[in-house]
Amino acid sequence: MPPPATQPNVRVVTLNIDGRDLSAREDETIIEVCRENQIPIPSLCYLEGLSIWGACRLCLVELAGQGRLLAACSTRVTEGMQIQTNTEKLQRYRRTIVELLFAERNHVCSVCVSNGHCELQYLAQTCGVDHVRVPYRQASYRVDSSHEMFRLDHDRCILCTRCVRVCDEIEGAHTWDVMGRGTECRVITDMAQPWGESDTCTSCGKCVQVCPTGALVRQGTSVGEMVKDQHFLPILARRRHAQ
């Protein structure tokens, strides 16, 4: 569930991010404070309005005095934190993680409907991934075009579970989930049957809009045509929690 509503007696803390002194409410996470202050932090699974998943590991930051890296999405700020968001080490780790993602599902940007509008592609560029050192995994997946409005291409999926969460937390249908484990994981609708045969899908399309890549797209889109629109999410999330 997204974080609960602000308590009236919530305190304010000061912290330092990348040399900038900032103040924040103590119930905020590092990534929220960074976004408020235009400090770029890469992330794929995090999306404002959805629950915290903490799986893409791209938002890891360094905290002074702490050996372990912290995920900015799941760590709340505390008084006096000294945070570095973009050290050489973090850049290197992020590059490797993006490479692992590309190699895992054989992403081919040039023929992807999300080409030019894809968060993974954008991250590769901003993280300086100009090639992938590890070999592509070459697993074979089928495209599911059974739904009359949408299409699922596992080869573009990065298992961020945004679709699973938006379907469960905002739409309330819980059509999506993840099956299997490890490299065998994949997103499924209902009992892993074709999407078009799902009894629970309301065809609301929220999953498509929050998908960061070309894994979930509208039918009929061609290369580069799939533009996602996520403006509905913070609004719906707020209203859900106001209930």
Binding site: F102, C109, S110, G116, Y122, H131
Partner: protein, 180 residues
């Protein structure tokens, strides 16, 4: 007026669509400026058909899909000081590598038999043997500069070459990306 010594450039295309070379030509009038600074010593775009022993910059388009691609990549690596992977096929396998999901024999059958109505037959003579796995260039030889894009824009290629001519290592991620 003394002109600085020209750098030598060799290019070739492996398994790809030659679109990256077309993009190269898209530099238009800048090509004139370019030929004053570089000598293209080997390329499908020029007549020379022997790779010289010592080349400053080698540019490879396309992925490694056949025995012939493999030989060319080895030759380029051996004779070129700096090797550039140009375009997504060279950088990550791109479309040619999409056949990697399938068995090679199935791919060949599909292309030359299943979908052919008149005299289906698999070519064997005069064509290099296909490798079972398509690889990017750096999957078989070391690469110094990666220029992703499908194809990389003429601007991106111009930037990369300008930097190399100036003796600097370019960082193409500022001008191009996968699928660009």
């Amino acid at each position: 007026m003394s002109t600085p010594p020209k750098i030598t450039v060799a290019t070739t295309w492996l398994d790809g669509c030659s679109g990256c070379h077309m993009s190269f030509l898209d530099m238009d009038e800048r090509l004139i400026e370019l030929v004053q600074q570089v000598d293209i010593v080997y390329s499908p775009l020029v007549d020379t058909k022997t790779l010289p022993d010592h080349v400053d910059v080698g540019i490879l388009e396309g992925s490694i899909s056949s025995e012939d691609d493999l030989e060319k990549a080895y030759a380029f690596r051996k004779h070129c000081k700096i090797l550039v992977s140009l375009g997504d096929c060279a950088v990550n396998g791109n479309v040619p590598a999409m056949r990697n999901h399938f068995k090679l024999a199935d791919v060949v059958d599909h292309a030359y038999r299943d979908t052919v109505t008149v005299q289906p037959q698999t070519p064997t003579r005069g064509v290099p043997a296909l490798l079972s796995l398509v690889k990017p260039i750096h999957g078989v030889v070391g690469v110094d500069v990666f220029v992703p894009g499908c194809p990389p824009s003429a601007d991106a290629i111009w930037y990369v070459l300008s930097e190399l001519i100036a003796g600097r290592m370019p960082d193409p991620s500022s001008v191009t990306r996968f699928g660009a």
